[in-house]
């Protein structure tokens, strides 16, 4: 009797791989909260400060539309940010599409539905590869452990990084590889467990009848 195997075995394994994938993508996902306009303003503030020592950086409320004062000729933060907005719109949309794709991959894997069971590991592999390609994980946090040669000193450095750098450099480099390798393993398991058409039944049965007919 043929045992009907689940093509997506191991709910725990699937959960771990999905969680690893989501953790790897945590920072890009959270970064979506910074809207294109805010990104443009932040860059404009930095650029304005670096570009010119004589162009004062003025808050928008200082903008003087009368055109009579000297102050009115100086660029405001909003003026400088405006041309950058389009590029940041595109960047933000790209980020959004990537994060949505990751969410679909993780959901498919967690759902473990048989219809999408074979596709989910492929989606996870694609999402992990996309992270590796788009963000180039930093291994500095781990290399720093070798440089400091001291756990307290290493922690002194890492503890002042802030949560986003910690997530990007400590968590993501590990979890993205867990997701990638886990996805590959699930794909192999799913292939191995997939129910095949039993050739023995389809071919052997006519053969058997032929044999019985040929018997004297």
């Amino acid at each position: 009797m043929q045992k009907n195997k689940d093509p997506m075995p191991g709910v725990w394994l699937r959960s771990i791989v999905a969680a690893a994938l989501l953790l790897a993508w945590l920072v890009p996902a959270v970064r979506l909260a910074v809207l294109p306009q805010e990104r443009a303003l932040a860059l404009a503030a930095t650029d304005l400060m670096c570009l010119s020592s004589r162009a004062a950086v003025l808050p928008p409320s200082w903008g003087d539309n009368s055109g009579t004062s000297r102050v009115a000729q100086r660029p405001t933060l909003v003026d400088v940010a405006a041309p950058m907005q389009r590029a940041f719109d595109k960047e933000w949309q790209t980020d959004l599409i990537r994060v949505l794709f990751v969410a679909v991959a993780a959901t498919a894997l967690l759902a473990g539905a048989r219809r999408v069971g074979g596709v989910a590991p492929l989606l996870v592999i694609a999402a992990a590869t996309l992270y590796l390609w788009a963000y180039e994980p930093h291994w500095d946090a781990f290399r720093l452990l070798g440089v400091t040669q001291s756990l307290p000193l290493w922690w002194h450095a890492v503890s002042q990084w802030g949560w986003s750098l910690q997530a990007e450099r400590l968590v993501a480099p590990l979890t993205v590889w867990i997701a990638l390798l886990g996805g590959c393993w699930l794909l192999l398991r799913a292939e191995g467990a997939r129910p095949r058409r039993a050739p023995s039944q389809t071919i052997q049965a006519p053969l058997r009848s032929l044999v019985t007919k040929a018997r004297p």
Binding site: L48, L144, V147, Q160, L165
Partner: protein, 218 residues
């Protein structure tokens, strides 16, 4: 009983052990005569790295992007104001911090208070524009600032036992002017930030070479 040949080697082995344990096999030629001589000054690395303009980050990130949380926020520090830049006097000094042979990155945008939607930004007269380690000293009039001033603006400690929070390891300061490196044994906070000076802070293991940087202009 050991072989006679082996027995003959025992005194020789004992002599070698005795000499080694007394330090005769090491490079400290003044064993038993007080403090060891200071290590020789490492040569400058060649060729120098060009960091003209806005250069790439140099070294491994240690302090991250939030290390100036206790630094200047626009208030006057050590008599140094935070204003719109005036480049009438504009020189550069380079700072290298090397931990166990690994160059550490000096974070970008130190000494800068970015503008927000409601407040104007400003620059301290000591600041940087990248993570290359090059420090800008910009002022309407010639000024003489020190490494201690820069660390105050950064908001990190600086002493002979603590550099940016790194403690518990031997720390040596080197100053390179016009290609000549000297070891600095005084108060590190008093090291002057002068044009084209290379300041190297060695923490932990001895350097093989002093990091060497060059840039166009002052």
């Amino acid at each position: 009983m050991p072989n006679p040949r082996v027995r003959a080697l025992i005194p020789l082995f004992a002599a070698v052990v005795a000499v080694w344990s007394c330090g005769g096999g090491g490079d400290s030629n003044d064993a038993g005569q007080g403090a060891p001589a200071p290590a020789p000054i490492p040569p400058l690395s060649q060729p120098p790295t060009d960091i003209s303009g806005t250069a790439a980050a140099q070294g491994m990130d240690y302090w991250g992007n939030n290390s100036n949380a206790n630094g200047g926020k626009g208030e006057t520090i050590d008599g140094i104001p935070c204003r719109v830049m005036d480049e009438t006097f504009h020189i550069h000094t380079h700072l290298s911090v090397v931990l166990n042979g690994q160059l550490l990155q000096i974070p970008n945008a130190l000494g800068q208070v970015p503008a927000t939607a409601t407040t104007a930004g400003c620059f301290y007269q000591i600041h940087n524009h990248d993570a290359s380690g090059r420090l800008h000293i910009e002022s309407p009039v010639p000024v003489s600032y020190t490494l201690g001033n820069f660390f105050h603006i950064w908001g990190q400690p600086l002493s002979t036992t603590n550099v940016g929070g790194i403690t518990g390891m031997p720390i040596v300061f080197y100053v390179t002017d016009n290609g000549t490196t000297t070891r600095y044994d005084g108060d590190p906070a008093a090291i002057q930030l002068t044009s084209h000076r290379l300041i190297t802070i060695q923490i932990g293991t001895q350097l093989n070479a002093i990091p060497n940087f060059t840039w166009t202009g002052t």
